[in-house]
Every structure is written in structure tokens, then in C-alpha cells.
Subunit: 335 residues, 2 copies
């Protein structure tokens, strides 16, 4: 198998991307195709290794930037690492595509160049949400801002299959974000979706209050992309601000400075628990071929794991399983 990696996407590209790609070779069977400016990639590789056996380079002189309009970038930047990645994926020259580049452009590319799985109305971005117990999968994190019940149902099904096949969670529990736990609560979308979810084959936990998300009481967190994006970013914001406020309190006087030093180990351990880089990138679930979005600020460890879980994604036939499941339930009959 071959996994294409966008060497130019992300805040720490190309260094972290190339370092992560070399790191993962021991843990996977696939070859890696690094896409981007050939001279730069070569130079970075030569700094790190003399063994180029399982690494190919696909030259691409252009780069899709975060500021680019997604659809326009995909249509016009034909020599970009991202568009070349999608072309290779579409032509089956590679089996999966991993990029830490612009989320919007990756979504646009997935839809324009690759297309949806038959029966899926709207693909979704499904990142890991670190919880107290380990992690949940958040579907959708921002690809679809206005949803129908059918979409949320698809998110639940696809998320369950991904967790089961790729991260080894057996019979994952699916919760739907709502403002109360009782049936019938919420806005029009979620109150209409409740019945649909309940009737489905998935392991439906029911409504999930946002207060209970960080505790990790479900495996799949289902919501529309607007709410999902708010959940992801707010969690980041609260954690960041709490950490800063604690640090301020800690360094205020001499005694607490000593305490802060002593506790450094504890804080480090705490931080590692919340380290999303361990669980790989976020797949675009519902796209016909495997597209994995790595976090924009991915370090080499995050890239390593995005590639590693990308391989498992292919090997364990996530897309085929989604196709089967969607065909079986005939989701097309749901509004």
C-alpha cells in the first residue's frame, strides 16, 4: 500500500511532516509518497536518513494556503501538493491521503476530486476529542453547519464504524449533543433526530448534555458541524485560559513558585492525558477514498500517528463497511 502525505501543509511543514513520515516507517507496512517541492523535501530527507527505500517524492511546486478560498484553490492550484494528493488518490496511485493543510480546502478537494460514498448525503470531519477517560470521536466538527436528521444519523453510523475498525472500540456508544437529557428536548433538528437515532441499529446512548462531554461518557459525540466546531474550540479556549490563570496564580510568590516546580511533573502528566496527537488525524468520513486531516499545528508525533491510523483505516476497510451499513438501512428514505 501507499500513503500520500502533503509535505507542505500545516504550521510546521515541511520539517515536522517529513520527520513524522520517517518515524512511522517502522510501524507501518505501506510506502510513503511525500508531495511537495522536491528540492526542499530531498534536503530535509538527506538531513535525517540515507535510506530512501520506502519513500517516494511527488513534485508539486505550489501550496494551498489557509487564506485561500477553498473551492477556488482546489480548482486553480493544479500544481499544489494538496491537489496533486487528491489526483493521486483519485487515480488509485495511492491508498490514502494525509494532510495538515487547510481544513476547508481538504473538504472542498474531497468533494470535488473524490466524491461521496453512495448513500451518504454529507461527509463529516471526525476528530478525536480527548476526555478524562481517554477519548471520544466528535462528528461533525465543522464540515456541515446546517444539518438534517439524516445527516446526524449518518454521522453516528460512520463514527461508530471508524471507532470500531480503526481504534478498536467495541460497540461504541453514540450520544447526541442536546440541552437536556430527556427525549423531546432541544431544537428542531435534534428533537426530530432523536426518534431516527433510537430506531437505528447503533448503540444509541440518547441525549448528551455538553457538561458531560469532557467526562467521556460516550464514544461518539454526534452534532451538527456548527455546534461541533463550538465544542472543539471552546474546549481549547477554556483549557488554555485555565492553564494560564493557574500559571499566574502559581508564579505569584516565592512559596507557590516552589510548589509550581514540584508540580511540574504532575502538570506534564496531566497535559499528556489531553494529548490529541496520540490518536492520529481526523478522517473525513463519508468520502469515497481515505482522506485524513492532521491538526494544523501537528508535530512529528501527530503526523506519525495520522499516517499510522490512516493505514489501519485502509486495511480494515472502513469505507467498504460504511457502504454496506448505509446500503443496509437505506438511509435515503430518511429526510
Amino acid at each position: 500500500m501507499k500513503i500520500a502525505v502533503d509535505a507542505m501543509g500545516g504550521d510546521k511543514a515541511p520539517k515536522a511532516i517529513i520527520a513524522g513520515s520517517l518515524l512511522v516507517l517502522d510501524e507501518i507496512e505501506s510506502n510513503i509518497v511525500l508531495i511537495g517541492k522536491e528540492d526542499i523535501i530531498k534536503k530535509e530527507l538527506e538531513k535525517r536518513t540515507t535510506d530512501f527505500k520506502r519513500i517516494d517524492i511527488l513534485d508539486a511546486q505550489d501550496v494551498v494556503e489557509n487564506e485561500d478560498k477553498p473551492v477556488k484553490a482546489i480548482r486553480s492550484k493544479k500544481d499544489s501538493s494538496m491537489v496533486k494528493g487528491f489526483e493521486a488518490l483519485k487515480n488509485k496511485e495511492v491508498d490514502a491521503f494525509v494532510s495538515a493543510g487547510s481544513t476547508g480546502a481538504l473538504l472542498a478537494g474531497s468533494l470535488l476530486k473524490i466524491g461521496r460514498i453512495k448513500g451518504i448525503d454529507r461527509p463529516a470531519l471526525a476528530p478525536i476529542y480527548p476526555t478524562r477517560k481517554g477519548f471520544s470521536l466528535l462528528v461533525d466538527a465543522g464540515a456541515n453547519t446546517d444539518c438534517k436528521p439524516r445527516n446526524l444519523l449518518e454521522f453516528g453510523i460512520m463514527g461508530s464504524i471508524y471507532l470500531q475498525q480503526v481504534l478498536g472500540i467495541n460497540n461504541p456508544k453514540v450520544g447526541m449533543v442536546n440541552i437536556g437529557t430527556e427525549e423531546g428536548k432541544g431544537n428542531r433538528l435534534v428533537s426530530e433526530t432523536y426518534e431516527v437515532m433510537k430506531k437505528s441499529d447503533m448503540n444509541f446512548y440518547g441525549n448528551l448534555e455538553a457538561r458531560d462531554i469532557p467526562g467521556g461518557i460516550v464514544d461518539v459525540i454526534v452534532c451538527d458541524g456548527f455546534v461541533g466546531n463550538v465544542i472543539l474550540k471552546l474546549t481549547e479556549g477554556v483549557a488554555m485560559n485555565m492553564t494560564s490563570m493557574l500559571k499566574e496564580a502559581f508564579t505569584k510568590n516565592f512559596i507557590s513558585k516552589i510548589g509550581a516546580l514540584i508540580l511540574k511533573g504532575g502538570l506534564k502528566e496531566f497535559k499528556s492525558k489531553l494529548d490529541y496527537t496520540e490518536y492520529g488525524g481526523a478522517p473525513f468520513l463519508g468520502v469515497k477514498r481515505p482522506v485524513i486531516k492532521a491538526h494544523g499545528s501537528s508535530n512529528e508525533n501527530a503526523i506519525k500517528n495520522a499516517i499510522k491510523y490512516g493505514e489501519i483505516f485502509c486495511k480494515n476497510g472502513v469505507i467498504e463497511k460504511i457502504e454496506e451499513e448505509i446500503f443496509k438501512i437505506g438511509v435515503d428514505n430518511i429526510e
Copy 2:
């Protein structure tokens, strides 16, 4: 002036409610009318004071419970402290009504017994959101799960007036929760609302990413009630889980246990920064008479401040100012 207080609402009722009502007397000019089971209230008062001068009791033998269906409870529990509070407010026997009881029932009572300010389509619940800098006002926190642009505009206007008149924030900055900062981003609701907000007289900051909410970069956080409820509860959940995880890390071994002891002061100071009880209750903005919802788990300090800011709410004519502003801009012309 007279402020009615629901002595039976909230997790710590009636003790904390009565204690808070006595505490606040030194800081306000109004008299207080405690509503609830007269014998219980009397007993609690007698434990604490011999001076009943500015306290009246209005007997009500029934209680609206959190489990009650809101509309049904307001219609059928005629002898409840909450319904009697609304009746007194409606009949102008009191000037404001403070309750830590069921949010849903308080909203139902506000709509059924008191009614909306002319020109306001949907009243909103507006609690304080503690931030790194101090606080913001979150409108709406859950009263309206499906909104139109007109509603968000009203939330922004009412929130600005409340902050200015009651909490003394000059020319408050209004941000609209969105998944990106650029104009045109987001779901149908917020992308349509952007123009309406921009054209208005308010100090519109623009789109606000959830990541930036805890930092306190705006004064009024505008969103629909579904998103607002998620924001409020998720913040609580993240903070709670972070605190627990830190505590676990701190108490893992002897050295860090010492550190935890040293840092106790710092943590306490940190916690007090996030103490919402300082800023009073959450007004139902858009209701024709002042209704203040105190947090369900209010202690005496929270009740004290809910009453105190309730008096300022009346004194500074928040409702009249909302009426004027809404009349001026003719919000009825907006979808």
C-alpha cells in the same frame, strides 16, 4: 421598592435564600417579600434575626419542582411560591421577582403571566459568563433553541443595555458566536444575521470564535439558545474535569502532595476569579417586568447579589430603555 424572592426555589432553599435575603438588606433600599411556606420561613428568620422591619412574608404552600413540566406547573400550581411571585409582579405589588427555581418554569411564567416587551419577539436568558478578564454576558443561554436573525439582534441590543445600566460597562462590545471570524462564515442563521448586526447601532465586534470566549474579548456573547446552553454547560464540564484531573495528578505521590498543599492558596484565588456568584443572577431580558433567575445551586452570596442587581435593574430602568431602543430601530421590520 419591593423585591419578591422565591424562598422555596433552588438546591439550597430555603436556608440559603433566606440568609441571602437578610444579608442584602444593608446594601439595598428595597423591602423584601419572601414567598413560600410561612411557618418554615418564619422559623428560619427567627434563627437569624429579631429585626423583621424590611421583610414581608407571602404564604405559598406549594412548590414548583425541577421535574415539573414548566407550562403545566405554572398553570396548575396556583399556590406555589413561583406562581404567587409572578402574580405579585404582574399586579405591581412588587417591582422585581428573584427565583433560583426551575429555569423552564420561570421562562414559562414570564411568558404566560407577565408577557413580552412590545416589539420583542423572544425573551432571552442572560447569565454572566466568567472570563479571564472578569465576565461577559451570554445571551441566549437556552430560552430559544431555534432563532431568526431578528432574535439575535434583539439579544445583542438587550444585552448591551443590561450591561451598561446594571453592571456599568460603557458601550459594550457585542460578538456573535461563529465558526470563523470572517464575514459570511457559519450556518444560515449567523451568516444572515451578520449584516443585520453590522447595520445596527450596537458596538458590533463581529464574529467570535468559541476559542476566544473564555478570554473575555467581548462583553456580550450573542448566540441562539441551543449553542448558548452548550457553551455554558461545556465550560462547566471542562473546568470540572480539568480540576479533577489536576487534583489526581497532584495527589499521586508525596512530593506532589506537598506541592498541592503549597498551591492551595493559588488554586483558591483562581477559583474565586471564576466565581459567578459575584455578579448576580441571570435576567430574563425582554420580559415586561424584571424577572431574575438565580443559579439553581445558589449560596447565600449568590442570592444576595441576585437581589442587589435586581434592584439596580429596576432603578436604572432597563425595561424602559429596551422599549425605547426597540421602538427606535423598528425591529419588527426584520425577518
